[in-house]
Symmetry: D2
Subunit: 486 residues, 4 copies
Amino acid sequence: MQDYPKHYCGVFGVFGHPNAAEISYYGLYALQHRGQESAGIVTCDGSEFYSHRAMGLVPQVFKGNSLSRLKGENAIGHTRYSTTGASHAVNAQPMIVDCNRGNIAIAHNGNLTNASELRDELEAGGNIFQTTVDSEIILHLLARPSASPDANPLLDAIRKIQGAYSLVMMTEKEMIGVRDPHGFRPLSLGKVDGKWVLSSETCAFDLIKAEFVRDVKPGEVVIIDKNGLRSIDAFPAQKRRAFCVFEYVYFARPDSKISGMEVYKSRIEMGRHLAREHKIDADMVVPVPDSGNYAALGYSLESGIPYHMAFVRNHYVGRSFLQPSQVTRSLNVRVKLNLVSGLVEGKKVIIVDDSIVRGTTSQSRIRTLKEAGAKEVHVLISCPPHKYSCVYGIDFPDRKKLLAATSSVEEIKNHLDADSVGYLSEEGMVESTGQPRDQFCMACYNGDYPVPYDPNVDKEIIERRKFEAVSFGDLIEKEKSQSKLI
Amino acid sequence: MQDYPKHYCGVFGVFGHPNAAEISYYGLYALQHRGQESAGIVTCDGSEFYSHRAMGLVPQVFKGNSLSRLKGENAIGHTRYSTTGASHAVNAQPMIVDCNRGNIAIAHNGNLTNASELRDELEAGGNIFQTTVDSEIILHLLARPSASPDANPLLDAIRKIQGAYSLVMMTEKEMIGVRDPHGFRPLSLGKVDGKWVLSSETCAFDLIKAEFVRDVKPGEVVIIDKNGLRSIDAFPAQKRRAFCVFEYVYFARPDSKISGMEVYKSRIEMGRHLAREHKIDADMVVPVPDSGNYAALGYSLESGIPYHMAFVRNHYVGRSFLQPSQVTRSLNVRVKLNLVSGLVEGKKVIIVDDSIVRGTTSQSRIRTLKEAGAKEVHVLISCPPHKYSCVYGIDFPDRKKLLAATSSVEEIKNHLDADSVGYLSEEGMVESTGQPRDQFCMACYNGDYPVPYDPNVDKEIIERRKFEAVSFGDLIEKEKSQSKLI
Amino acid sequence: MQDYPKHYCGVFGVFGHPNAAEISYYGLYALQHRGQESAGIVTCDGSEFYSHRAMGLVPQVFKGNSLSRLKGENAIGHTRYSTTGASHAVNAQPMIVDCNRGNIAIAHNGNLTNASELRDELEAGGNIFQTTVDSEIILHLLARPSASPDANPLLDAIRKIQGAYSLVMMTEKEMIGVRDPHGFRPLSLGKVDGKWVLSSETCAFDLIKAEFVRDVKPGEVVIIDKNGLRSIDAFPAQKRRAFCVFEYVYFARPDSKISGMEVYKSRIEMGRHLAREHKIDADMVVPVPDSGNYAALGYSLESGIPYHMAFVRNHYVGRSFLQPSQVTRSLNVRVKLNLVSGLVEGKKVIIVDDSIVRGTTSQSRIRTLKEAGAKEVHVLISCPPHKYSCVYGIDFPDRKKLLAATSSVEEIKNHLDADSVGYLSEEGMVESTGQPRDQFCMACYNGDYPVPYDPNVDKEIIERRKFEAVSFGDLIEKEKSQSKLI
Amino acid sequence: MQDYPKHYCGVFGVFGHPNAAEISYYGLYALQHRGQESAGIVTCDGSEFYSHRAMGLVPQVFKGNSLSRLKGENAIGHTRYSTTGASHAVNAQPMIVDCNRGNIAIAHNGNLTNASELRDELEAGGNIFQTTVDSEIILHLLARPSASPDANPLLDAIRKIQGAYSLVMMTEKEMIGVRDPHGFRPLSLGKVDGKWVLSSETCAFDLIKAEFVRDVKPGEVVIIDKNGLRSIDAFPAQKRRAFCVFEYVYFARPDSKISGMEVYKSRIEMGRHLAREHKIDADMVVPVPDSGNYAALGYSLESGIPYHMAFVRNHYVGRSFLQPSQVTRSLNVRVKLNLVSGLVEGKKVIIVDDSIVRGTTSQSRIRTLKEAGAKEVHVLISCPPHKYSCVYGIDFPDRKKLLAATSSVEEIKNHLDADSVGYLSEEGMVESTGQPRDQFCMACYNGDYPVPYDPNVDKEIIERRKFEAVSFGDLIEKEKSQSKLI
């Protein structure tokens, strides 16, 4: 049961707004790309909590009159994507508990690197676990009795967890936003109709016509109640910044803004850098939709080689990266993209994508292009090679399945049967974001993990158990009293 | 959130049988009368737990291929009825947790009288609660670290809880049956194909063709593992016996056997005693189906007055006693029974039922009979007047709503507009069961509660909260560090 | 596709009532025993028709706000049971069509004996069929252009169909009730709040507190519009009466009244006749619930042998007779009834039922009784042996599967391993109804079919097709024009 | 009930393939853009028909094991979009009937212009209608008895209907494809694994890896049976060609090929023509996704002005054009597209779309751009102004709601608050398709309707009824026999 899914999620919250549930619905809608497996909203009217959580896309989960039953002016919401095969309804978020600090609801984006240790410690202390999501650990920590009256259970809890986390929480009186001290995952602060909102990405603010105020800072805790917003720096001894650079490359929506930089623009820049780093004599540059759209355009703008959307996407399929089941993934490859064959016949083609993971998809794309008569196929990737897995919440496969972890660029080219393969340099990528290099986590490219983690705890080793299943019968034997075997 | 529903439930378990899930399905089916709100089965294959729990009747819950996914040779199951208006899916049982003693699943029938105290104590100690069912309290207690290596967490937990409980639990290696020391609720032990089964009632054994072995004794813990069954008396200092006499009168199925007595026979005897205690000159004796069926027949057999099923039941409605919603209940009164009017016209009629609770249903029945031309209507009840509410798991209304708590028999007669009203004496009722009087809880008749309870904790006062909702923001104020109000 | 299911159904209608949909819901609820496969209501607000039809029991079909969408003061409804394995949603009733006579909706109980001929004739004339229910034939007939301006398409249609039918129809202006000239199936007329209602059985009137006015007469057409009710005798040359006697024995609800006789009373009488015809030295008379309840009671009342409900029914299973699937039927036998074993041990037992069809169920019941220690088991049936199948709408199996069609009573006794088997005489049965013998169809007992039918058209021969599937290609060959084979 | 929805649909069929149902599923999947309201597949194993039809997208409709129940080697399928508010399940296609020519299933794309007349005529002749889709009319015609043995009911039926239709039909022995003599809607012929397939568009062939053979010709009937394919020209006197030019502009998928021309390429050409016709000094050209994607790219390629995807689409919303409900449509405008604001600030922007219908959406887009700081906003449309409604199956609003029907280009510019508005010329549009001008229907641009239609029959006038609702009661009055008013 200790299989901590490395989930990727969207979190949202609004405080004091008469349409809290509906605003959260639209907020989650805009964050749908961060989690398509389940969605949930919890509201509070100042005393009672109301919740609706289910498997499915946001519009599927909130059908009929489910929104109207979510009363109250405060709300937090969550969209969830789990990388584990088993996707249990019981794991749907936000999670709610009752404890000595009242009712608390939590929505969590990220991945704790010390989840197993904390769970072992909590279980050793007598705590019981009903789910396999990190949030339950945080709630246990929040509920622990304080050592002294001056202690702050919230700060104590946050200082205990390690890894990547952007949290939106709700008590009966407050909404709380927290971002880990490294700032792995985004979290932004906005205002709609004068009321505070929190969102994983700013694109949600656009949809609900909220004004963007600022990003929550790494290590910052914001507490919003009827008196306004209070901010505290939970980690005064500043930690190394480690924002996930792959949010710029792939994950965030192009219309979001992170650290003041529009994601769209940074992707165009990645394409321009690619063009400068990899000059190719070609007839057209073709994006792999939609992940390669902007970098391909940037390449075209910089190089002057015409841009062509030769792959046509079927809009009724979800983003394959987000589908947990392997079966569905293979289906998606087949149904998701179709080639406008006549366009590429006899042509030298550059295709641009954001990554090569296992290489199977790229391989099949190149084969399709060659079967349609493409004279040359060049593959360009808008970031460096992915050589290491992510332990902070992005579901890359294990190292041994990452093509670039074990193959040189030349070997990759041969494996894909491409005429050339080129990656964007680390420098090019970082420059495209407009941020200093030391702000980023680039562990998946260079193996430099900002927060240490137990390498033995891996997705493959989810069954490491500290505790043996008890035999109550054997324990009772000791008591001897009247025990007998029938 | 601290609304502890006084639930009435059925529990079942089987250990080491290749068809564990299917046997549990049929077992729960036979126990459907003990809970129609939700049902669930948890199985174990020796290491993994598999569960399926949902709102609805047993055949509705286990549709399609849900049973086939429940792997393993061990299984426990639960049917649940909640008296609270809100019937949450999250409260469906059996409940499963992971803790320092491994995975544990639990199915519970009964009502803890010290649930609020225990929950307060556990929350004060830092435990978090995700549901409002008693089982979660027991699981927290089971997971508490032991004070000494010789301690037995199972016995410690059981000795901590008070009130009525029949439990069926499952660890990765064992199935455990527990009955509270007073023996409020039934729990029986049987064998099917040589494998142990536990069931709230013996009627489940008949359906699955299991052999009845014996009742689990009050205060007994039975632990079944691959080596067989071990029994321990958890309460050597024997407590007063307090089996719920209303199980004989109404709740248990007539084809079940409790303490060696067939429930059917005891109900016939109640009718015979009624006939001896209340001689009436009448043309026919009519049961209120189905609760009055057997006592009415006993009355007819003893008195010679013809038995007539003048009320015809619509079989597509559930048992009204078990429907949580007041709206549905009023509907049921209207749609559940129809009178064969021609039968009673000009006749002196005795109607027999198992209880008068609020009196509204009886009133409308008598009115119906008189409108159809009945010359006289006499009401007989197969037990004494219900004057006190039950705190051990049966959903009687609060005292002030119990007609007999505030009215004399004469007043009840006038209130119902009956020609006479008669109750079975306590002696008659007890004699009909064939058991000694001191074995029973008869608190609902005489107010003698075998286990003390806090009279302030009532269904009406479910919001007594020990803990105020915390304001993390105010707590942080103390820290002062960099807190500022924007 | 020409598999005309011999369906058994309930029909209902109300005209001019502000709560037409809700009244129909309760009406259908009371008629649930006549069809558990699907249910539907069609309403009309004077111009538009609104419908809701689905598979399932009445309360399952009309969930949520489905009733509130059924606007208008006129409504007809239908509960349907189909004997064919395939139960298609497309066959759900009432059926609605648009034709040259406006919109017409129809609900039908019965079975047309000339359905195949009529369908062949209609198809030959160019009509297309989208379902396999008789109602579609009637609607085609209703829509046929009239030969003369004086013709009446309704009477023309009715005079064309043969067999058993009780119809409730609705046009934009009228509600129409029709009963076939033999009067096979019941249909009654009532008034609720001064508005006309039609129902298969009077028990529906009791539920909605409608007053019973009278039965619709065999061959009568009643047309209700805003001016009141008009009646016409569609078959002035009176036909032989042929009311289905099995409605008294089994099918109708005991609280219904047919031809002025309470069904309950006639079943008690059947038991009394049984007692006079079959005197047995026994300790108890036990009904097979619920079909044998009343006849067993009648036997007890007449003979003085105590009545005992030794079989306990699980109320959460439907009536096995009505479950279309063979799999479910075998399950039902196992889960539906449980024996109170202690009651029959060492006793001579009479069991009373309404019929022995295949004998398998009776056999297993007797075995159960003997295993529980019954000294003798005598089987009594409250009607004569079923030797012939029904072609007027009751789903008896084919003759060859009817035990009594091929075995003598002695053989049946041996087959069942009973100590004796006794049937009620035809005289006893008829006398119990209080009606003259010549009023009844008793074809299933004596093979005297009041309406002739093609013995080759049987449930087993549903594929007799007049029309070969066309080959449009071959037809086009004749045209020669430019046809060519690629 | 006579509301003939002007539906837009996709049709598909495969004959003689062992995976007929699965191939149809993928075929419909590729045609999803032609109808998102309902989907259905009917298969035939040579005698029996099997069907599954439901509301929803293709993957929603064919969940679970629904495909595996569709047996047989022949299959036809349908995706449906209805423009009427009420979207009834009963209207889901393909429709199946049984008639004197056997079972026939039909899938239909297009709109009959003489549907009302034909329905009136058929109803007058006694036919009944259970749905409001054109297909039912065609089936009635197919089932009409032939006047002479040499007649061909298929050709007779086809010659009777007028307007736009591409049909795929299935009998027990054949699959039939039909395209109306004007060739309004596409229909293509392919082969997969040597078996014939029919599809509205060639993109379905790509997905199932079928080889494209040729387009079905206007007026051609292809009949496929076990002997192969036969073709007949049903309209030897050739009619004016009238292929819907808007299929090239908007409706067809860009990866489909119509009349040998890739739709993608023709859209790029439209953009290039736009650039030649409307030279604008701008900083970027921005498509309205996805309808303006290709023309905008063509404009950029021709003009050298950078292409920018400044509007970001939320991929979890359907194509707004296809959503029947007005409520959802307004929602879609809000949630579907988000602007990358920083990109357009201070810039001169050209936006390219395929049409301006009501103008409301364009208006709000331009406002969004200006609010984000765009200095100038120029609007270009890749076809001429839509001034007339479509009566051949595309759901344009009525003329009075078409902005261009009542406003000059200058007025449109002012209405939209754009800096300029430009349309592609008719010549430019036609040239971009590579087809001769006389091949097209361009009625929506110039009002020249190739097939006459009754201008009084409009979406607004759906209640024109030839037939008054009958009063059977009044008709019966004439019969006088025994009629009386109670």
